[in-house]
Amino acid sequence: MNGMNGLRRYQWLMGILLVALFLTGCETGHDFVKKTEFKDADKIVVIFAGPVDNAWATDVSNFSVYEEPDPDIRLNIKEAALGPDKTTLTLNFEAPLNQGEAHILSTTNIVSEGQDLGAATLTVKKLYFGILMTIFLGAALIQNFVFTKYLGLCVFFGTSQKRSTAIGMGIVFTTVMVFAGMMAWALYQFVLKPYQLTYLNIVVFIGLVSLSVQGVDTILRKVNPALFKAFGVYLVLVIANCIAIAVPLMLADNEYNAWESLMLALGAGLGFMLALFLMACVRERLELAKIPPSFRGLPIAFVTAGLFALAFLGFSGLSIY
């Protein structure tokens, strides 16, 4: 595979991306607070740097919690419990928390061994990396576009006859998807939404996908003619793939930010590649199998895809949070 060697050169880019991901979403609220996190469905755990006063910590009225977008709605705390080491405080809520949103926890002056350490305003949110991984795994495996969302089937059945074709299509599709996804995000957030043109979503996104295909085509032709010769034929097929238009629509519907959009596009592309590769492996074997004449070709491919779809149901239990 010539193409794989070419990709290896860009590994440093992946490294920078990963570091950037880890750096996003770390914050400190108060010097005395080491860590805040969600626990179970209805608990927030606060870990202090030293022991705090039992009477202060177990008084529910010392704390107030709201979701970041609506500061007016205070969430009811049922019970506050301090661990035996006096540093772990568990806030028990009456209703399950919406853990996708960041929660703001404000306390009255923290009392620790008779000292007053001042009030604190803390942000409780899931580690951002975890949210991104959830979106990525969701798009690639749990909600695989081919096997659980039933999208992109025309191209899927057309290009899954040989493994080499499957890999080529997968790589080209992932590249175009990331390209188009990021442009769609920028266009949606900075043009369509501010000017209230969201009803033009379909027209704009389909144009954008064609444009990215054309762009990748032109760039690849100049930068790496060998790669273009190997993969150029698949570029046209990307436009005919409904996943290519479904991803921009999904990231607009869910109001994803830049990183989340990138993860969705990447997950969609890699998930499609995985589906293609698995299917190609089976179809290469099917060529040699004895199949009833009326089932040869597409019908048996559909039945095989059905078995894969059942297998992919098993991923529904997989999630980081």
């Binding site: 999208l151 009803y199 144009g207 005919a240 409904c242 238009i245 004449p293 009326s294 089932f295 019908p299």
Partner: protein
């Protein structure tokens, strides 16, 4: 300019039977697998596709002499996208419940290969009336395919038709589950192939 010798009714019938988009051309399979769980879904999405197919066919046919050949594909895409936006907003406004059940598929009509293919093969060469009948035939063919799948899945899966209890029991609950779409389409394609082979053999012998 007209290159087809088929009559209007011939175009209509061909779209439904001989060139059926789902079972014969095997195009636009995504909705056929994804949301053919009920007859109602089939009728609604079929209507939407029919609308888009007929109107974009007529639009392209009207302006076919003014489109530069180099930009014809983008022109088709934008025309389809415009009509999809129209039907998308209309369905969202008047049948919100059913629209929600169909999820993203109404908006994804824009990527259906069948519509672009018909514009390229037919509407860009033929006059308005012929294009209208061809669009009608293809749209109806799609709807018939979707409804056939819907009938099979709903009747065998939940023993109902259009929400009314017909059989009183559920012969094959598996059919109505979302992941069974692949099996049903595969089995039905095989079944139609089998009928065709048997029919041809009888004709010969």
């Amino acid at each position: 300019m007209s290159t087809t010798t088929k009559s209007n009714t011939q175009l209509l019938v061909d779209g439904i039977l001989k060139e059926n988009p789902i079972f014969k051309l095997a195009l636009s399979m995504c909705p056929a697998v994804g949301i053919s769980t009920s007859v109602m879904n089939g009728i609604l999405l079929g209507t939407a596709v029919l609308f888009v197919q007929v109107f974009s066919g007529c639009t392209i046919s009207l302006v076919r002499n003014y489109i530069h050949p180099k930009i014809r594909i983008p022109t088709y895409t934008l025309t389809i996208a415009t009509w999809v936006t129209v039907i998308d907003l209309v369905l969202a406004a008047y049948v919100p419940g059913a629209y929600k059940a169909m999820g993203m598929f109404v908006r994804l009509i824009v990527a259906f290969a069948i519509i672009t293919m018909r514009l390229e093969m037919f509407a860009s060469r033929e006059p308005l009336t012929k294009s209208f009948w061809d669009g009608l035939g293809m749209g109806l063919g799609f709807m018939v395919g979707m409804v056939t799948l819907g009938v099979v899945r709903e009747l065998l899966g939940s023993g109902e038709l259009l929400g009314y209890d017909v059989l009183g029991f559920k012969p094959l609950l598996f059919f109505v589950l979302p992941s069974a779409g692949f099996f049903v389409v595969g089995l039905m394609m095989g079944f139609f192939n089998w009928i065709e082979v048997a029919y041809n053999r009888r004709k010969e012998g």
